[in-house]
C-alpha cells in the first residue's frame, strides 16, 4: 500500500503523463468526463463520469479498414496501429467490472484485435467509491465498490490517495512515481471502506437482487405481459445504451471519402428501430421487442452464455439519463416482483 497526499496528486499526474498518456475524469458543462491529462487539470470529484469508461477500449467510432477502389479492383488497407500504453485514472469498480463483461465478448474467439490492442495497452487505476448515491446498485451484481479491481486499486481519504498495485502493469506505473509516494497504512483504508459500506446499506436499491434472472430463464420472461407497459413510453433512443458501460452492440458502415472507402464501426443500439431491419422485414417490429431484447440480453441471454455473469454492473447511469426514466431497475422489479 502506497499513498500520496491529495495536494501532491497533480505531481503524480504530471509524472505519469510525462511518460505515457494519462486520462483523468474532469468536470465539464456536460458532467464529468475522462480527458487526456494536461498539466493543471483538476480531477473531478463526481462519483462517476457521464459516459462510461468503455470508450477507452470500445470507442464510439473506430476505423476497421480502408479500401481503395479502382475500376474493378479493390485494395484493402489495414489501418490498424498498435496503441501506446495509456493510463485510465479513477475508473470506478462498476466500470472496471464492465471491462470483464466486454472482455467476454471481444476477447472470445475470434479475438477482436481492435479491442484487444487497446485493452492490452490500457492500465487501469481504479478508485474505490466513498460516496455512492441513490442510483447505485452495483452491490446487486456482487461488486464491492470499495474494492475495485484493475491494475492499481485506489482509495481516497480526506487528504490522501492510497494506491495498491494488482498487476505488473500497475507496479510499473507506481514505480514511475515512486518518489512521490510514501508507504500507506491498510488501517486507514479499511476504516474508509467501512464508512462507505455503512452508506451502501442505506441506499434505496441496496436490496435489489438479480437472483430471479440468469441463464435458462428465457421461457419464463420472454412472453411476460409486463413488457408491454414497461416499453410503451420508450422513445427508442440510444441514451441507455450509449451511457451503459456494458452495452457493446455495434454497426459496421462504409464511408466514401471521395478518394477511397473507410470501413468503420460505431456504437449501435438494439433500441433503434432499424437495428435488425433487413431488406425484407424486421424480426423486432415494435419497440416492445427491441426493449425486451436489451433487458433479456443483460439479464438472461448474456448470463446464459457467460457462466451467470450479468451484463449490468449497477452503475446507475441509465437511471439518471433515460429521458423517460425507464430503466433496468424498474424492469427487474416489475418482472422479478411477479414470481
Amino acid at each position: 500500500m502506497r499513498k500520496c497526499s491529495l495536494s501532491n496528486l497533480s505531481a503524480v499526474f504530471d509524472k505519469i503523463s510525462e511518460n505515457l498518456a494519462l486520462y483523468i475524469p474532469v468536470d465539464t458543462n456536460g458532467g464529468a468526463k475522462f480527458e487526456k491529462y494536461e498539466s493543471g487539470m483538476v480531477m473531478s470529484e463526481a462519483l462517476n463520469t457521464v459516459r462510461s469508461a468503455k470508450d477507452f477500449f470500445f470507442p464510439q467510432i473506430e476505423d476497421v479498414a480502408a479500401f481503395k477502389v479502382e475500376g474493378k479492383n479493390i485494395e484493402v488497407v489495414d489501418t490498424r496501429v498498435i496503441k501506446d500504453d495509456f493510463v485510465i485514472f479513477g475508473a470506478r469498480a462498476c466500470d472496471v467490472k464492465a471491462f470483464e463483461v466486454l472482455d467476454n465478448v471481444f476477447l472470445s474467439d475470434p479475438v477482436d484485435s481492435y479491442y484487444a490492442n487497446r485493452r492490452e495497452h490500457g492500465i487501469i487505476f481504479a478508485l474505490s467509491c466513498s460516496k455512492p448515491v441513490e442510483t447505485c446498485f452495483c452491490n446487486a451484481f456482487g461488486i464491492d465498490c470499495t474494492e475495485p479491481k484493475g491494475d492499481v486499486s485506489m482509495w481516497k481519504t480526506e487528504s490522501e490517495m492510497y494506491f495498491k498495485a494488482n498487476s505488473e502493469k500497475g507496479e510499473k506505473i507506481l514505480a514511475l512515481v515512486a518518489d512521490l509516494l510514501t508507504d500507506g497504512e491498510e488501517k486507514v483504508v479499511e476504516s474508509e471502506k467501512a464508512k462507505t459500506k455503512e452508506v451502501l446499506k442505506k441506499l434505496p436499491l441496496s436490496n435489489l437482487s438479480p437472483d430471479k434472472f440468469g441463464g435458462g430463464k428465457t421461457k419464463e420472461y420472454f412472453d411476460d405481459p409486463a413488457w408491454k407497459s414497461l416499453s410503451e413510453s420508450c422513445l427508442g433512443c440510444g441514451t441507455c445504451t450509449f451511457v451503459c458501460p456494458t452495452c457493446q452492440c455495434y454497426d459496421v458502415k462504409d464511408f466514401n471519402t471521395g478518394h477511397g472507402v473507410v470501413r468503420f464501426r460505431c456504437w449501435d443500439s438494439c433500441m433503434y428501430s432499424d437495428f435488425t431491419k433487413m431488406a425484407h422485414g424486421n424480426p423486432r417490429l415494435t419497440q416492445l421487442e427491441r426493449f425486451r431484447q436489451r433487458f433479456m440480453h443483460k439479464l438472461v441471454y448474456y448470463p446464459e452464455n457467460n457462466n451467470g455473469l450479468f451484463m449490468c454492473v449497477g452503475c446507475g447511469r441509465c437511471l439518471a439519463k433515460c429521458p423517460i426514466s425507464m430503466n433496468i431497475v424498474k424492469v427487474m422489479k416489475t418482472l422479478g416482483g411477479k414470481n
Binding site: N256, G258, H259, G281, N282, T286
Partner: protein, 664 residues
C-alpha cells in the same frame, strides 16, 4: 451500373484553344461507369451526332456525357440525337466546358483541369440518372371564363371565334360588368353602352358561348387541360328559356322600394327586375330578399301578369358540373368602401359621392335621366370638387387605403370634369390631385384639354376635410403649389375611390390554387414574360382581377389571354415536363409544407392505405404530385424534412454526387 459514353467537343478552337480536349477525354475514360470516351471537332455537327449515335449502339451506352458548350445551347440537340439512337433523352448530361470554362479561363492547364472536373461531375450525375418519359394528358376543348365584364366578354368572343366552346359565369343577372355602368369612355368620349352592348349581343348570339348569369363557380378540381368546375346557378325564379324580357312584371310588381344596385342605390327598382334595358340575357330576376311572394307566400302579381308563364316560385339553385381545358379569371374590380374615410363625410352627406355614382348621375339611363342633380335635394350643383387618390397610394402603415395607384382615376376624373364643364358651363369644377398620371395614347392631351379648354381648376394638394354645413359642403384643402390653405364651399364632392379586386377573387384563387398578391390581385406567371397567365397552368388572367387597368388595356389583355387559351385548346394532348417532383409515399408525413410552397398548386393530399410490417393496414395522408401541373422548380424538396419529396432529373443524390465530384 451505367455504361456511359463521353464526347468531348473541340468547338473548333473555342474549346480546344484553352482546353486539351484529348487529355480530357483520356482522363474521363477511367471514371466509374465510363466505357467509351472520345473527342471531336464539332459534336453538334451532323458528323458529330453520328459519332454519338454510333457509339450508343456499338457500346450499348446507357448514358451520355457531352463536354461542350452550354446546355442552354445544345442540350436539346444532343438529347434528340440520343433519342434517335434509341437512348432515353434524359440520360444525356452536358458538361459546360465552353462558356463556363474555355471562354473564361486563359491558360491550357487550368482550363483542362477544370474541364476534367466538370466532366467528372456530369458523369457522376449520369451515373444516377434514370430514364424519364414525359407524361401526356388530354385537353378538354372548352374554356371557362369567370366574370362577364368587358374582360370576360372579349376573352370569350375571341376564344369562340377560334372555334372553341366557352362558358361565361357571371354572378350578376346580366353580363356587362362595370363598363355597362359607365357613361362615356376616355379619351374619345364615346358612349360606353354604344360600344359594349353590341358585344354583349354578340356573346348572346354566339353558338359557341354559353352564359351562366346569376351564377357562381363553387368548386374547381383538376389541372391544366382537365379542369372540372361546379357552377351554381342561383334560382332567379324566372324560367330563363321562357321569359321574353318584355318587362311587364317589373312594372307591375308591387314591391317598389328595392334599392337599385345598377344605379348604386341612388334610385329604386322592383323585387322582380331586369338590371338595365340592354341586359344579356334579357331575363327578369326575382330578388328573393324582397319578393313578398317568396317571403310570405302572398302576392303572385308577376306570375299573373306574365303572359309567357315564365315565373316559377319553386325554382331551386342548380349545380352544374362541366369539364374545361382552360380557365380565364376575369373577376374585375370594385371601388373600395368609403366607410373608413370619415374625413370626406361620405356617410354624412348624400352629396359626397364616388366617381362611379357620378357616372350614373351623368348617364341618360341613370337615376336622374342624365341630368346632373344633387342626390340630396335634386338641385343643380354649381361648385363641384373632385378628390383624387381616395384610398390609393396610401402608405403601407395606413390601414384604410391601398398602397398601389388605381391607375384609372386620373383619366376618368378629367373626363368627368370636362363633361361637366361641357354640359354645364355654369359650374365651377375643382380637382384635387397628388400627381396627374396620364401615360396612355392621347391621355395627356385629354387632360390638358380639360385644364386649358374647359377651365377645370386642377389643384395639387389633398383635401383635408369635408364638412356638411347647411346645404353646402365646406371643403378644406391645401394647395401645395401656392402653399396655402383653401376653403371651398361646394355643392357636390366626388371621390375618386381606389379600386380593389372583387371579393369573390380570393375564394376563387383558393379553388384554383392560383396565387394572389397581398392586395388580392391575381399574380401572373411572370410579370414581364407571361403577364396573362397565372402560375397555375391552365389558368389565365384577364382584366382588372390582375391589377388596375383601363378599358383598352383590359381588352388587349383579354385578347392576349384568349390567344393563350386558344394555343392550349388547339393541342390534343399536353406533354408534361418529366423533370417533376415526386413524393415517396412511404416516407411522406403529410405535413403539407410542400403544398404550401408549391407555386402551381401541383401538390394535393390523399388518404392512402399502407400495409404495416405487422400486416395491419394504416391510412395515412400523403402528398401526391400532379405531374401535368408541376413545373419542376424543386422548392418542395427542400421544405420536406423527411426527404420524401425529390425532383426527377435533379434528384438529391444527383446533385450531391455532382458536389462530391467537384470537391474530390
Amino acid at each position: 451500373m451505367q455504361r456511359i459514353g463521353v464526347f468531348v467537343c473541340w468547338c473548333g478552337s473555342n474549346i480546344a484553344g484553352t482546353v486539351d480536349v484529348q487529355a480530357v477525354a483520356e482522363a474521363l475514360k477511367t471514371e466509374p461507369g465510363v466505357v467509351f470516351s472520345t473527342n471531336y471537332q464539332y459534336m453538334c455537327s451532323q458528323a458529330g451526332q453520328d459519332i454519338m449515335k454510333q457509339a450508343i449502339k456499338e457500346h450499348n451506352l446507357t448514358g451520355v456525357v457531352v463536354c461542350s458548350c452550354s446546355p442552354r445551347m445544345h442540350e436539346t440537340t444532343f438529347r434528340k440525337t440520343a433519342a434517335a439512337a434509341g437512348l432515353n433523352p434524359y440520360m444525356v448530361e452536358i458538361a459546360n466546358i465552353r462558356e463556363q470554362c474555355s471562354w473564361v479561363h486563359k491558360d491550357m492547364p487550368t482550363g483542362t483541369e477544370k474541364a476534367i472536373i466538370l466532366g467528372k461531375a456530369a458523369i457522376a450525375k449520369v451515373n444516377l440518372n434514370t430514364p424519364l418519359t414525359p407524361g401526356e394528358s388530354p385537353v378538354t376543348k372548352r374554356a371557362l371564363v369567370i366574370g362577364g365584364g368587358i374582360a370576360g366578354i372579349q376573352t370569350a368572343l375571341d376564344i369562340a371565334d377560334a372555334g372553341f366552346e366557352v362558358d361565361i359565369v357571371e354572378k350578376k343577372p346580366t353580363i356587362g360588368g362595370k363598363m355597362a355602368q359607365i357613361d362615356k369612355t376616355f379619351p374619345t368620349l364615346d358612349c360606353a353602352a354604344c360600344i359594349l352592348t353590341p358585344k354583349m349581343v354578340d356573346v348572346a348570339q354566339n353558338e359557341k358561348i354559353r352564359i351562366f348569369s346569376y351564377a357562381e363557380v363553387t368548386d374547381v378540381k383538376g389541372f391544366v387541360g382537365n379542369f372540372t368546375a361546379t357552377i351554381k346557378k342561383k334560382a332567379r325564379y324566372v324560367k330563363e328559356d321562357v321569359c321574353t324580357g318584355c318587362g311587364i312584371c317589373t312594372e307591375k310588381c308591387p314591391q317598389k322600394k328595392v334599392p337599385n344596385e345598377f344605379n348604386l342605390g341612388m334610385d329604386n327598382r322592383r323585387a322582380v327586375y331586369i338590371p338595365f334595358a340592354q341586359a344579356v340575357p334579357k331575363v327578369a330576376t326575382i330578388d328573393p330578399d324582397h319578393c313578398t311572394m317568396l317571403k310570405t307566400g302572398k302576392c303572385g302579381v308577376c306570375a299573373k301578369v306574365c303572359t309567357a308563364g315564365a315565373i316559377d316560385y319553386t325554382q331551386k339553385d342548380e349545380f352544374i358540373e362541366e369539364n374545361y381545358g382552360a380557365i380565364v379569371v376575369a373577376t374585375g374590380y370594385n371601388p373600395i368602401s368609403m366607410d373608413k374615410f370619415d374625413e370626406f363625410a361620405y356617410n354624412q352627406s348624400k352629396d359626397v359621392i364616388t366617381s362611379l355614382e357620378y357616372e350614373r348621375l351623368m348617364n341618360a339611363a341613370g337615376p336622374t335621366a342624365g341630368k346632373l342633380l344633387r342626390p340630396s335635394d335634386g338641385k343643380h350643383p354649381h361648385t363641384i370638387v373632385f378628390v383624387q387618390c381616395v384610398g390609393s397610394r396610401c402608405s403601407a402603415c395606413d390601414e384604410k387605403g391601398k398602397e398601389y395607384c388605381s391607375k384609372i382615376c386620373c383619366m376618368y376624373t378629367a373626363k368627368h370634369a370636362m363633361l361637366t364643364r361641357d354640359k354645364y358651363p355654369d359650374t365651377d369644377v375643382y380637382v384635387f390631385y397628388i400627381d396627374v398620371r396620364t401615360p396612355g395614347k392621347s391621355f395627356d392631351e385629354f387632360y390638358r384639354r380639360a385644364v386649358e379648354d374647359y377651365g377645370v381648376h386642377y389643384i395639387k394638394g389633398m383635401v383635408g376635410k369635408v364638412m356638411p354645413e347647411g346645404d353646402q359642403l365646406k371643403v378644406r384643402a391645401s394647395d401645395l403649389l401656392a402653399n396655402k390653405q383653401i376653403n371651398i364651399d361646394a355643392d357636390l364632392v366626388v371621390l375618386a375611390a381606389a379600386i380593389e379586386p372583387d371579393k369573390s377573387a380570393r375564394p376563387l384563387a383558393t379553388m384554383l390554387t392560383a396565387s394572389m398578391d397581398t392586395n388580392d390581385f391575381f399574380t401572373e406567371a411572370h410579370p414581364k414574360l407571361r403577364p396573362v397567365e397565372s402560375p397555375t397552368a391552365g389558368v389565365f388572367l384577364s382584366g382588372a382581377c390582375q391589377g388596375p387597368r383601363d378599358i383598352p388595356e383590359t381588352v388587349a389583355q383579354a385578347g392576349a389571354a384568349a390567344s393563350k387559351v386558344i394555343g392550349l385548346l388547339a393541342k390534343d394532348k399536353l406533354t408534361c415536363n418529366p423533370c417533376v417532383a415526386s413524393s415517396n409515399e412511404i416516407m411522406c408525413n403529410g405535413c403539407s409544407s410542400c403544398a404550401n410552397v408549391c407555386p402551381y398548386g401541383a401538390i394535393t393530399y390523399v388518404e392512402k392505405e399502407f400495409r404495416q410490417p405487422d400486416r395491419t393496414t394504416l391510412v395515412r395522408r400523403v402528398a401526391s404530385v400532379n405531374e401535368a401541373v408541376c413545373q419542376g422548380c424543386g422548392c418542395c424538396t427542400v421544405v420536406c424534412p423527411s426527404g420524401a419529396m425529390d425532383l426527377k432529373g435533379f434528384a438529391n443524390n444527383q446533385i450531391m454526387s455532382e458536389v462530391d465530384a467537384i470537391c474530390k
